[in-house]
C-alpha cells in the first residue's frame, strides 16, 4: 500500500460519507480502516427507522442507510481494512494498525480523516452509588448484544436517560419480551425526540419520570433493584422521595463522548465543550493534513448531519491530498453567545475563499426555548438571522452564512439564540 492519498479511520456512516466525497473530488487511493468485521459502524445495530429523512428524503433504518453508501462505493479505488484496529497516529503522520490478517502495519498518507465516532458515558462517569453487580449496561452495549448477538441482557429493566437510544432500547427490550419498569430522566424535559416518546414509551405504557434519577443500585451478584428519587432544581435528589424499583437490569443512556484518544500523540486542539477536535469549515483540524467528521468532532443528533459534515471532510481531505487546499493563514473564530452551548466549526479559514461557498454553522442550544431568533453577528453587524418556533438541546440547529460577508473582518463571529 504505497502512495495513499487518504487514510480514513472508521468505516461507520462518517467514514463512508467521507470516502464517497473524497472519490468524487478525485482522490486516487483511499484506505478505510475499520475495527469491526463489516462496514456501517453503529448503524449496524441501529435497526430502527428514523434515518435519512433529510439526506435521502426517505425514512430508512440504520442498515438501509449505510447500505446506500456501501452500494455507491462498490468498485471505487478504496481499500477497506476490516477487523483492523488503529493503535496510533504519530506526529509524522504514520498510522499504525494491527489485524490478524495483515499483522502490524504502518501506513502513511497525504491526509488523514478521523471518523472514529463516539463512546457512551458510563456508570462511573455519572457516579451512581451502590453495589456493583452484573446487569448494568450502557444502552448501546445492550443494543449490540440484543440486535447483533441475539443475547438478552435482562428481563426487568430500568432505563436511566430519556435520550433516543434509551427510549429506543425501551421498545426493543419490550418487543423481545422484557418488562421495562421505568425510564428515568434527570432533566425536567425529554432528552430525545417526541416521536420516540410516543412510539417507544407511550405505545407500550412505559412510564417516564422526568426530574428523577437513580440514586442507588442494590444487588450483590446481579442487579436486584434501583432506588429512584425526585431531584430539585439543582438536580440534587430530594430526601424522602426515594422509591425502590425491583429490576434485574439497569440500562444507561446518559450521553456520548467523542472517541479521540487516538489523537493523543498528535497534539490537536480539542474543544473543552464538545470534547472533540476543533475544526474549520473544511472540517480541518489544527493540524493541516488531519480532517475530522461525525461524532468524533461533536455528538450529532441525526446521522444525516453526520453525512453532510463528513462529505465536507472527505472532499477537503482529497483537495489537500491533491494539493488543491492551501494552508490556512488567517482564521476567524466562531464563538457562542446567548443560549448556545457550542458551535461547529469553531473556526473559519478566510484565505482559500476565492469561491463563494456557503458556510453551515451547526450548533446546539443550552435550554429549550420557543419563538426565538437565531442570530449571527460580527463586529456589531448582523450577518444572518432567522426565526425558529422551537429549539431544544436535543436537536442540532444550523445557520448558513456567506463568506463574502466576512471580508475584512478580524474579530470573532458570534452566534446566539434570543
Amino acid at each position: 500500500m504505497e502512495n495513499i492519498d487518504i487514510i480514513i479511520i472508521g468505516g461507520g456512516p462518517s467514514g463512508l460519507a467521507a470516502a464517497k466525497a473524497a472519490i468524487s473530488e478525485g482522490a486516487n487511493s483511499i484506505v478505510v480502516v475499520e475495527r469491526d468485521n463489516s462496514l456501517g459502524g453503529i448503524l449496524q445495530q441501529c435497526i430502527h427507522p428514523g434515518f435519512g429523512l433529510s439526506y435521502f428524503k426517505k425514512e430508512l433504518t440504520g442498515p438501509e442507510y449505510y447500505g446506500k453508501f456501501t452500494e455507491q462505493l462498490k468498485g471505487e479505488p478504496i481499500k477497506f481494512l476490516l477487523n483492523s484496529m488503529v493503535l496510533n497516529i504519530s506526529d509524522d503522520n504514520k498510522v499504525s494498525i494491527v489485524s490478524s490478517e495483515h499483522g502490524f502495519l504502518e501506513l502513511k498518507a497525504k491526509s488523514i480523516v478521523l471518523a472514529m465516532g463516539c463512546r457512551e458515558r458510563t456508570r462511573s462517569n455519572i457516579r451512581i452509588p451502590g453495589s456493583r453487580p452484573s446487569g448494568i449496561y450502557t444502552a448501546g452495549t445492550a443494543q449490540r448484544l440484543v440486535n447483533r448477538q441475539n443475547l438478552m441482557v435482562g428481563k426487568n429493566v430500568v432505563i436511566l436517560g430519556s435520550g433516543d437510544i434509551g427510549m429506543i432500547m425501551a421498545r426493543r427490550m419490550t418487543l423481545e419480551g422484557a418488562n421495562v419498569v421505568a425510564v428515568v430522566e434527570l432533566m425536567d424535559y425529554l432528552a430525545g425526540l417526541n416521536r420516540n416518546k410516543v412510539q417507544c414509551l407511550d405505545d407500550f405504557n412505559i412510564p417516564l419520570y422526568l426530574s428523577h434519577t437513580v440514586t442507588k443500585v442494590i444487588g450483590k451478584d446481579r442487579v436486584e433493584g434501583v432506588y429512584v428519587a425526585k431531584v430539585d432544581k439543582n438536580k440534587v435528589p430530594i430526601k424522602g422521595t426515594e422509591k425502590l424499583y425491583t429490576c434485574d437490569t439497569l440500562l444507561l443512556s446518559v450521553g456520548l463522548i467523542p472517541e479521540i484518544e487516538l489523537i493523543n500523540n498528535i497534539n490537536l486542539e480539542v474543544s473543552k465543550i464538545t470534547k472533540g477536535p476543533v475544526v474549520n469549515q473544511y472540517m480541518q483540524t489544527s493540524k493541516n493534513n488531519v480532517f475530522a467528521c461525525g461524532n468524533v468532532v461533536h455528538v450529532n443528533d441525526l446521522v444525516d448531519n453526520v453525512s453532510i459534515e463528513s462529505e465536507i471532510a472527505g472532499k477537503n481531505a482529497a483537495k489537500y491530498a491533491l494539493g488543491k487546499l492551501e494552508d490556512p493563514a488567517k482564521e476567524l473564530k466562531v464563538t457562542t453567545g446567548e443560549n448556545v452551548r457550542y458551535v461547529c466549526p469553531q473556526k473559519i479559514n478566510l484565505d482559500n475563499n476565492n469561491n463563494e461557498e456557503d458556510i453551515k454553522l451547526f450548533f446546539r442550544v443550552l435550554l429549550p426555548m420557543s419563538n426565538v431568533t437565531l442570530r449571527v453577528s460580527v463586529e456589531n453587524k448582523i450577518i444572518f438571522e432567522k426565526k425558529a418556533l422551537h429549539v431544544g438541546p436535543g436537536e442540532m440547529e444550523f445557520v448558513t452564512i456567506k463568506e463574502k460577508d466576512l471580508k475584512d473582518v478580524t474579530s470573532p463571529i458570534i452566534i446566539e439564540v434570543i
Binding site: 468485521n37 449496524q44 435497526i47 430502527h48 427507522p49 433504518t61 440504520g62 442498515p63 438501509e64 447500505g67 440486535n147 447483533r148 448477538q149 441475539n150 426493543r172 418487543l175 423481545e176 425526540l193 417526541n194 416521536r195 416518546k197 410516543v198 412510539q199 407511550d202 405505545d203 418556533l389 422551537h390 431544544g392 436535543g394 436537536e395
Partner: protein, 120 residues
C-alpha cells in the same frame, strides 16, 4: 370521544386535541395543530394508528446470528406484539439481499417483513 395526541412530525411536539368517533372513523374537530402535516398525522393517529416494526430474524450459516428486518408498511399499533411472536418463529438462510421479502403477508395483515440488512 376526545383524544389528546402529541404530534411527532417535528420536534415542536404540538399537543393536538381530536374529537371524533373511532368506530366510524370520523373526526369532527381538531385543535392545536400548527401545520397540515400535523393535521394529517393527528387524524391518522386517531382513527388507525400504525407503526413500522423494526426487529431481527434468526439466520443460520452466516457470520452473525441475526439479520435486521422491518415491515414494508405500517402495522396497527396493537398488533405489534402479535407480529413479533410470528417473526420470532422464523429462521432464514443466506443469500439475502436488502429488500428481500422474508415473511409474506404476516398474520394476513397485508404487510410483508423485509430484510434491511444483507447476507450474501
Amino acid at each position: 370521544m376526545i383524544e389528546k395526541i402529541i404530534c411527532t412530525i417535528c420536534p415542536i411536539g404540538c399537543e393536538i386535541e381530536v374529537v371524533g368517533d373511532k368506530k366510524n372513523k370520523s373526526v369532527s374537530s381538531l385543535n392545536g395543530y400548527k401545520c397540515n402535516r400535523g393535521k394529517e398525522y393527528s387524524i391518522n393517529e386517531f382513527i388507525a394508528p400504525v407503526r413500522t416494526i423494526t426487529t431481527t430474524i434468526k439466520i443460520s450459516n452466516w457470520k452473525e446470528p441475526l439479520i435486521p428486518v422491518r415491515t414494508d408498511k405500517g402495522v396497527l399499533k396493537d398488533k405489534q406484539m402479535d407480529c413479533m411472536e410470528e417473526i420470532n418463529k422464523v429462521e432464514v438462510k443466506p443469500p439475502i439481499k436488502r429488500g428481500d421479502i422474508l415473511i409474506e403477508n404476516i398474520l394476513g395483515l397485508n404487510v410483508n417483513v423485509i430484510a434491511t440488512g444483507e447476507a450474501l
